[in-house]
């Protein structure tokens, strides 16, 4: 139980994907103008990250390591993710129209999202897992749990950002600060807030 709680707190707050590890910043800046699109993207990323962890972890340890093909991991992972995203899109389109309308349009963007490839790379790296989660051993269940809660942390940060940007975009700032620079400053203050969680860790 302690390990579970530890992973949840570490994944959502202490090592937040967006604000501490800088993974998946492109949607964070591009899709955080409206809270509905922020939530849709967050949901899509969470689903894809969880399933990616469930698939890439056994592929790495059951297929690539026994065959001595570790150097192929990047190519294998990117292809697994690309085909997975296509498959999820088809399945959701078939079974749930409302869900597809909510997150379907964001799915193609996820193929080249560093958060998804990042989580696949992180869960197979023992040193990184020790540094990020504070647990020594990893198995497929914990990997999927980490993927899911990292996605939740991602969604949380996206949602807060979309709320802040509603206000910040209308501020009377100087011309060169408008747009991206001002968004960066907002993110700076959010990152300061999340930095406080570091003191727990």
């Amino acid at each position: 139980m302690g390990t579970f709680l530890m992973i949840i707190v570490m994944a959502v707050f202490v090592n937040n994907f967006l604000l501490v590890q800088f993974l998946g910043i492109c949607p964070f800046l591009g899709l955080s103008k409206k809270s509905s699109s922020a939530l849709g993207m967050g949901l899509a990323v969470t689903v894809v990250m969880t399933i990616t962890c469930l698939i890439t972890y056994p592929i790495y340890y059951k297929i690539l390591v026994p065959l001595g093909l570790q150097y192929l991991e990047i190519i294998v992972f990117i292809f697994v993710i690309a085909s997975l995203v296509q498959m999820i899109e088809k399945v959701i389109k078939k079974f749930s129209k409302p869900l597809y309308n909510a997150m379907g349009i964001y799915l193609p963007l996820i193929t080249t999202n560093c958060a998804v490839l990042g989580v696949a790379e992180l869960v197979i790296d023992k040193g990184q897992i020790m540094a990020i989660l504070g647990v020594g051993s990893m198995n497929i269940g914990l990997a999927a749990l980490y993927g899911f809660f990292a996605g939740i942390g991602f969604t949380l940060a996206m949602y807060i950002m979309s709320g802040l940007r509603d206000k910040v975009d209308y501020l009377d700032t100087s011309k060169s600060l408008k747009g991206f620079p001002m968004t960066m400053m907002t993110a700076c203050f959010m990152a300061m807030g999340f930095y406080v969680f570091n003191l727990i860790g």
């Binding site: 060169s176 991206f180 960066m184 930095y195």
Partner: protein, 217 residues
């Protein structure tokens, strides 16, 4: 390739379409690896190499790759070069390999590289594409190294590991400092760029006026 075209590609890559400061692409490594100047320059060199090679390779194969599967094909080519760089760094510069960490394999999904492949290399000749990759990479490397210098100097009081002053503010090496410095860099670069552009426009406008008045006379 003419000299004029060469100059245009260089200017586009480093200044006009600077990937980091003008287009705000590839933000993840820029924010994460500008903690020290050394990390910045390491990442910059890795991106220059991969971008030049992948652009040249994609341009060579642009008539063979079918249009429908071009994106997976581009990603495969980029992934191959990233794997090469990763193996070389792991073997010969393990310290840099450690400090680049997870961001080294993530070059595969870096939008700068895929963007240049899609918008330039898939339409232009090999030599031009290679130069475009080189100069876009240089634009990225300059920006991330400058950010690294500023953050290391203010956050750790040193540049490239050499002690400069006793002033230290941990804020600048933390995550919040990354967003802050990056935001300021974009703002300053944009301000300078637009003021220079305005001056040039004014100059050409005055020249036109002069020309017109001479014609009338």
């Amino acid at each position: 390739m003419t000299t004029k075209r060469f100059k245009q590609i260089a200017n586009d890559g480093v200044i006009k379409n600077n990937p980091t400061l003008r287009l705000v692409l590839g933000t993840c490594p820029t924010l994460a690896l500008s903690t020290t100047a050394m990390n910045g320059i390491g990442m910059g060199l890795a991106v220059i190499f991969i971008l030049t090679c992948s652009n040249a390779m994609i341009s060579m194969l642009r008539k063979i790759i079918p249009n429908e599967v071009r994106i997976p094909a581009f990603i495969l080519i980029i992934a191959a070069f990233v794997t090469i760089v990763r193996m070389v760094l792991d073997k010969y510069i393990p310290a840099l390999y450690e400090s680049l960490g997870v961001y080294l394999p993530l070059i595969v999904v870096n939008c700068i590289i895929l963007g240049r492949a899609e918008s330039f290399a898939s339409k232009n000749a090999v030599l031009e594409s290679a130069f475009d990759g080189l100069f876009t990479g240089i634009g990225f490397a300059i920006a991330i190294t400058l950010m690294g210098i500023v953050r290391e100097a203010l956050g750790a009081g040193s540049i490239f590991g050499i002690h400069v002053w006793d002033f230290k503010m941990e804020f600048f090496t933390s995550a919040a400092g990354a967003f802050f410095v990056y935001g300021l860099f974009i703002a300053i670069f944009n301000a300078i760029y637009t003021s220079v552009e305005n001056k040039q426009r004014q100059k050409s406008f005055l020249l036109k006026l002069e020309f017109a008045s001479k014609k009338e006379a």
